[in-house]
Symmetry: C2
Subunit: 196 residues, 2 copies
């Protein structure tokens, strides 16, 4: 196999990258100066080797515990539970949440062989029970079938501990249009209505 | 800057990759085993360092001259001129062309500062004039404004040498629909009509 084919194959293994895009990326690498190609390759290796899961919350970090877990400025009484580490940045960007996070590393999906043992649920329960003065767990798994099932499962585990368990709201996205929204979303938006 | 941000920045420099896709690729790298990340990084470095322009046709190759230029089975009397090395594979895949190639490395685009001196035109003229028994030059630059201008420019240079200069046909794409085709394409399809 030629080096061009080899690199194209590697690019095509990345999620969302098809053969044609992979070939375009390969030719981009061939056209750029070698030092730029090295910079990309070095960044891949550095991230792969030196970024690990935080020992407390499970998010990706170079330090452990991560900067959020070790920050003295975060509200340690509320933990936001997300499916993946990549879900933290969009929440942080809103500036609306000042608590801590917990990354499950996925969602319950029996068809894919992912049960409670495959997710970081034990460590979440340990945090809730022991280490921290937690008063609320905010479940921010995705509003998909599996995300809802995961939230329900966690609710059943955590609520008996006398801790408030909340769920991010579902409803119409800002800038959306009632006419084009699906029925389930509209139904949820009606149920989640609040006083103005 | 964190390693996650650094890798995301590098991915976002690739053509057609936005911030969100770059972040998704970064998390993919973090999730995959280090040996897979190394394989991608190694393929990038190997392609960047060991793939060069063919000394004859200018296409990307590990050997020089490339396998097409050095093949005894190719018809050396016809040269197909393309803008980029990536244009060769789609033509080869048709199985319709058995001649040689010449890669210009771009197209004439005065607004971008790309004139004849920036393209591999001298080496094309040298091939046509001296080294090879060339009877036909097939101009396969893109059917864009710049590609047409480049083809016209080359035609004016090569035709006086007594060599047949041809242009790939424009017309309706196979599977296309007259109703939705643009007027210029339909006009070209009418001009390029042929006997059945």
């Amino acid at each position: 196999m030629s080096l061009i084919e080899r690199l194209t194959d590697e690019f095509a293994r990345l999620p969302g990258i098809g053969r044609k895009t992979a070939l375009r990326l390969t030719y981009h690498v061939l056209r750029t100066p070698p030092q730029e190609a090295h910079r990309l390759a070095d960044a891949i290796i550095a991230a792969s080797e030196r970024v690990h899961a935080c020992s407390v919350c499970g998010s990706y970090t170079e330090a452990s515990p991560c900067s959020l877990c070790s920050s003295p400025r975060r509200d340690r009484s509320i933990i936001c539970v997300v499916e993946e580490g990549s879900d933290i940045a969009p929440i942080e960007n809103t500036g609306e949440f000042r608590g801590l996070y917990h990354v499950l590393g996925g969602r319950l999906s029996p068809l894919d062989g992912i049960g409670p043992a495959e997710l970081n649920i034990e460590s979440l329960l340990a945090r809730v029970r022991e280490a921290e003065p937690v008063r609320e767990v905010l479940l921010a798994t995705n509003p998909s079938v599996e995300g809802e099932a995961t939230a329900l499962y966690l609710h059943r585990l955590i609520a008996p501990l006398g801790i408030r368990v909340t769920r991010i709201a579902r409803g119409l996205p800002v800038g959306g249009d009632l006419e084009y929204a699906d029925g389930v979303t509209i139904a949820e938006a009606l149920q989640f209505r609040r006083e103005l």
